[in-house]
């Protein structure tokens, strides 16, 4: 019996000005799994997360999140959906005038209306879950990048979401922090039965915890499947092989040719 996916993109197109980001993309993101969305920089990975969160609307097609058509949802429905969603921003996006504990308490104060002593306990539990309880009273400016991201993760988990969206969680992190974040994401997903969407271009790290991987390039899905399936298909799809193995771009590709032509034009020489 097939389980209804948590997120479904139906013929989704999105453009920013003249730049086409997605062109009639179809994809399913299963419940209770970690789905990694990968691809070179500028392929619309973060845009995909913002489409899921309803911050931007597709120019065509539908984005379904747990049965809700996000682009056409009323403000109240969107609000209710976002209360069940945790979003880890690339830079953490902590509120700079609040302490780490106040940052974690923020969504609880806004939505949960808990008595103050209970709220303090929930905040302590969340911070402890990401190993940041000892920094509860620190201001974001006093935290390192990795610590800030863990506090932001605690904040994203504050309302016990069903869906977690991670935007480049490993970027700019040292190997120890990457290891900590990887363990956290995997263990939280298991323990809380979350549906996670992890946007990243850190291949080895992401494949180590992802249940399913979607590879984007040039406004399309190039490949999708489990990490093992993708590795098995590397021989069939040259781009997939280059991306997963970190090989330089094909010198004869259309993009490389266009770049050479543009450079020649700028330098006023012939190709």
């Amino acid at each position: 019996m097939s389980v209804e996916p948590y997120i479904r993109f139906e013929q989704v197109s999105f453009a920013r000005g003249r730049q086409r980001i997605f062109d009639r993309v179809n994809l399913d993101i299963p419940r209770g799994k970690i789905t990694a969305v990968m691809g070179p920089s500028g392929t619309g990975k973060t845009t995909l997360l913002r489409l899921i969160g309803g911050q931007i609307k597709p120019t065509r097609g539908k984005v379904w999140v747990n049965g809700l058509d996000v682009a056409r949802a009323r403000a109240g429905e969107l609000l209710a959906m976002r209360r069940r969603l945790g979003f880890l921003f690339q830079n953490g996006a902590l509120f700079t005038d609040l302490t780490a504990a106040e940052n974690v308490a923020f969504p609880l104060r806004e939505h949960a209306r808990l008595p103050e002593p209970l709220l303090d306990r929930v905040v302590a539990l969340k911070l402890n879950a990401v190993g940041m309880l000892d920094a509860a009273e620190s201001m974001p400016s006093a935290l390192s990048g990795g610590m800030a991201r863990r506090v932001a993760l605690a904040r994203a988990l504050a309302l016990d979401p069903e869906l977690m969206l991670y935007d480049e969680p490993f970027t700019g992190q040292d190997p120890i922090n990457v290891g900590i974040l990887l363990r956290l994401i995997a263990s939280l997903n298991r323990a809380l039965n979350l549906t996670s969407v992890l946007v990243s271009h850190d291949v080895a790290e992401t494949l180590s915890i992802a249940d399913q991987v979607i590879i984007l390039d040039q406004a399309q899905i190039v490949a999708a499947g489990t990490p093992d399936e993708l590795r098995a298909r590397m021989g069939d799809i040259p781009f997939l092989q280059r991306f997963l193995q970190g090989a330089p771009p094909d010198e004869d590709s259309d993009r490389a040719l266009a770049a050479r032509t543009l450079l020649a034009k700028k330098l006023r020489v012939s190709v």
Binding site: G53, Q55, L79, A80, R82, R83, L85, F87, F89, Q90, N91, A93, L94, F95, T96, F106, P107, E110, H111, L159
Partner: protein
């Protein structure tokens, strides 16, 4: 022919640039109007968290007190000095009090306070909101199901609206005291006529009430421009800088323009 063609081309370039600037200004005004409508829907719901408004009243209003009081005192001192010089030519120095008070309550109090407020608090509101946008704090709020317009923008707007008449009142009060110091204590105008003329000549509705109305209008305009420029700022360091500059320039021009219109409506003919 070549010279004429060059001139025509230059003229058309100038006209095109002018047209582009006008279109940009029209689009900006349209965006401001749309933003004002969206904000209007959130103004009353913002009162479900009055603590946030009180917090902003402190940051925006109370922390502007020093600059307002010092400026008010100096403006009062200058008004007292200039007024004494002019009135002494007509042997009417006993009217110094009412001249200083009316100038402050009707005009200088609301206008100078609004200009100082735009420079001190307006620019700070814009920079703060724009920085929150740049560092994705507003996006983070949205993704948590918290409306940034209600949580961040509306309390700041209310605080600007309430602060302005209070600050303008204090500005005028300190200014009148400044006029008293220079007129009565230094230049020897009679104390009783200084205060007596103020009591007799100043009308609560025509002067004080109209001054408060002006301040409220200026508070709404400066508050709206400040929050809009922050919210609509381009999320870059140059974008924040441009937004804060625009807040001060547009607020100042709007205050001066509106002051003329309000004065014409209230005191004209």
């Amino acid at each position: 022919m070549g010279v004429i063609n060059g001139l025509i081309k230059r003229l058309s370039d100038v006209l095109a640039a002018l047209g582009r600037a006008m279109l940009t200004a029209a689009a900006h005004t349209g965006a401001l109007a749309g933003f004002a409508l969206r904000l209007a829907w959130r103004l009353l719901p913002a009162w479900t968290r009055p603590r946030l408004i009180v917090q902003e009243l402190f940051v925006i209003g109370v922390l502007s007190l020093i600059i307002i009081l010092i400026s008010g005192a100096f403006v009062g001192l200058v008004l007292g000095l200039q007024g004494y010089n002019i009135l002494s030519k007509f042997n009417a120095t006993e009217s110094l009090g009412v001249m200083v008070a009316l100038s402050l309550v009707r005009e200088l109090g609301p206008v100078v306070t609004a200009l100082l407020f735009a420079g001190r608090a307006g620019s700070a509101i814009t920079a703060e909101i724009a920085l929150m946008k740049t560092t994705e704090q507003l996006s983070a709020m949205e993704m948590m199901g918290v409306d940034p317009l209600r949580r961040v923008v509306a309390p700041r707007f209310w605080a600007a609206l309430f602060s302005m008449p209070l600050l303008a009142g204090l500005f005028s009060l300190v200014g009148i005291l400044g006029g008293y110091v220079i007129g009565v204590l230094v230049l020897g105008v009679d104390t009783a006529s200084y205060w007596g003329q103020i009591g007799e000549q100043m009308q609560p509705v025509a002067d004080v009430f109209n001054g408060i109305v002006k301040s409220l209008v200026f508070g709404a305009v400066v508050g709206l421009i400040a929050v809009f420029e922050g919210y609509a700022a381009e999320p870059t360091s140059a974008g924040i800088s441009r937004a804060t500059t625009r807040t001060v320039v547009l607020s100042s021009l709007a205050v001066l323009g509106l002051d003329f219109m309000l004065t014409a409506l209230m005191f004209g003919a």
